[in-house]
């Protein structure tokens, strides 16, 4: 891709100017958290400088301005994910809270004999809440297995789903391997038995614009900090019909209609699930992040990142003894790898000394590491503000690390 405005984009990210260990920072840990453009930083500064106030209950000007900005952000997010109703967009503290909120709601609805399906590619945050829910309800947790190339075994899925299946949980993109899962197909199959589907979109949101109506998904969860927004804020999309049925997750202010010591009636959506003062600035900045990414355009982002992935994959595979885990046909710009005879921690430590930030370890996805019988991997994950020179810097650093270690 030749006309991608990479120089202009890089100027938007102040952090990309800094040095680490005396070397220019090469930030390749984007799957863990993305960096923040000045447009979003400015939005945060503006909020605290001009209209910081509590929302939804003040009659004064600042409170009104903050409320308007917060609700405008909700609307931006609704439009971005193409939800039908604004009250289907619930602000959360992030993907993990979104998942826990749904798991909590379902723990009141499931019984012994019910089954829930979770994929083998999940992050711990999409395994543990369901295990807890199953323990509580007696429902059975069934695992949709993976194939050696990091794709899900869709033949096995067809056999797993049955009349007892009540819920299916799969991530849109695997954080450890980058596999893009066939969620449309997964949702369609689940619908044939009336099961609800939750898609963990944390890794997908920075790369793919999901259309929740076209997908006909019941729940879709994301975090702002993976897509140029701040940490501590995210969104749960839920179909209105489901959100109305689910029990509130937390009690507190904002989420009530009438309170007496005898009885409390809950507020309508979305406030029923938004107890207490939310991360107001975070929500507003999330809206600014979505604006920023849409200005660049998700199609261009996907194309550019794909080019980075191709180049990095090719160059890394030229290193003798280097093995890439996760070679699905459809994958995002994540490369998980090891070098024979070395430990990922050692590679990560040395490349950090060379200014390159990668993630090492099990990436909160121990079942995947167990599947490959490895302690972990080195994971380089690219964003649209990374460059081809940075890909080259990674390759050189990995070569250097290998030379030092072997």
């Amino acid at each position: 891709m030749t006309n991608f405005p990479i120089d202009k984009i890089r100027r938007d990210f102040p952090i990309l100017q800094r040095k680490v260990n005396g070397k220019p920072l090469v930030y390749l840990d984007n799957a863990a958290t993305s960096q923040t453009p000045k447009q979003v930083i400015d939005c945060i500064v503006e909020y605290y400088s001009l209209y910081n106030a509590n929302i939804h209950r003040g009659v004064h000007t600042l409170s009104q301005e903050a409320t308007d900005a917060y609700e405008a952000a909700r609307e931006k997010i609704r439009v971005h994910f193409n939800a039908k109703h604004r009250e289907e967009i619930i602000f959360t503290s992030g993907t993990t809270e979104g998942i826990n909120l749904v798991a909590h709601g379902f723990s009141k609805r499931l019984k012994k004999g019910d089954e829930v399906v979770v994929s083998a590619l999940e992050h711990h945050s999409n395994i543990v809440p369901w295990q807890m829910m199953c323990e509580e309800t007696g429902a059975k947790l069934r695992v949709l297995p993976m194939l050696p190339n990091g794709e899900l075994d869709m033949n096995a899925y067809a056999d797993l789903v049955n009349a007892n299946t009540k819920l299916v949980f799969v991530n849109h993109i695997s954080n450890a391997l980058g596999t893009i899962n066939p969620i449309k197909q997964i949702i369609e199959k689940a619908k044939t038995v009336g099961a609800a589907v939750l898609i963990d979109g944390a890794q997908a949101a920075p790369h793919i614009k999901a259309d929740v109506q076209a997908l006909d998904v019941d729940f879709y969860v994301v975090s702002a900090h993976k897509m140029c927004g701040p940490t501590g804020v995210g969104v749960l999309y839920g179909k209105k019909t489901w959100l109305e049925k689910l029990h509130p997750y937390q009690g507190g202010g904002e989420m009530i209609d009438q309170v007496s010591f005898e009885q409390t009636t809950y507020a309508g959506l979305p406030h029923k699930f938004e107890a207490g003062t939310p991360n107001i600035c975070g929500g507003i900045a999330f809206g600014a992040a979505i604006d920023y990414m849409n200005t660049i355009g998700f199609e261009d982002i996907a194309q550019y990142e794909h080019d980075l992935l191709e180049k990095a994959t090719q160059a890394l595979l030229e290193i003798d003894g280097l093995k890439i885990y996760g070679t699905a046909k459809e994958k995002t710009s994540v490369i998980s790898f090891n070098i024979e005879g070395t430990h990922p921690y050692d590679i990560g430590t040395i490349v950090d000394k060379l200014g390159i930030a990668v993630r090492t370890g099990h990436h909160c996805a121990q079942p995947i590491m167990d599947y490959y019988k490895i302690p972990g991997t080195v994971r380089a994950s690219f964003a649209f503000y990374n460059t081809f020179e940075e890909v080259e810097a990674l390759v050189q650093a990995v070569k250097k690390a290998k030379q030092m270690l072997l």
Binding site: Y345, T349, T360, H362
Partner: protein, 142 residues
């Protein structure tokens, strides 16, 4: 046998010869490779210190009033640091091990590896070395 302090000073001295981080790390990697491996029978979960990033195995013996440590790790840089820790703490008296510190790791520019947030098992390993020393001291006093 030199005291823990003397050994640590010796290590600091050795590291002062290096000009940059790369030489320091190359030396550590060499140390990691030359560390006498823990006996296979002790490389089990009972002797394992779990770290999120790398794992460490430690075993202690009491010989002629001294505590003798052997240790291993699946990551070589972690193992290099273990080699330095074992060199300074092993074959020492329990009370000296309990009283000793690990400031020399800071002085040789490897501080970041002993950060509790690094999750490489080293912080727990140092605690474990001291626990062994405390246990042997209690045993000796009985």
């Amino acid at each position: 046998m030199n005291t823990i302090k003397e050994i640590q000073e010796e290590i600091v001295d050795e590291f002062s010869m290096f000009d940059d981080w790369m030489q320091r790390y190359e030396y550590m990697i060499e140390l990691g490779k030359s560390l006498p491996l823990i006996e296979e029978q002790y490389k089990t979960d009972d002797y394992k210190i779990k770290g999120c990033q790398s794992q460490v195995w430690v075993h202690a013996d009491f010989q002629e009033g001294k505590v003798v440590f052997t240790a291993d790790s699946d990551a070589i840089i972690t193992k290099g640091i273990i080699a330095l820790l074992v060199r300074s703490f092993s074959h020492q008296k329990s009370e000296d091990i309990i009283a000793a510190d690990t400031k020399f790791i800071d002085e040789i520019g490897l501080k970041e590896h002993l950060s509790p947030t690094r999750a490489n098992g080293l912080v727990s390993m140092i605690k474990q070395l001291k626990m062994y020393a405390i246990a042997y001291q209690a045993k000796a006093n009985n």
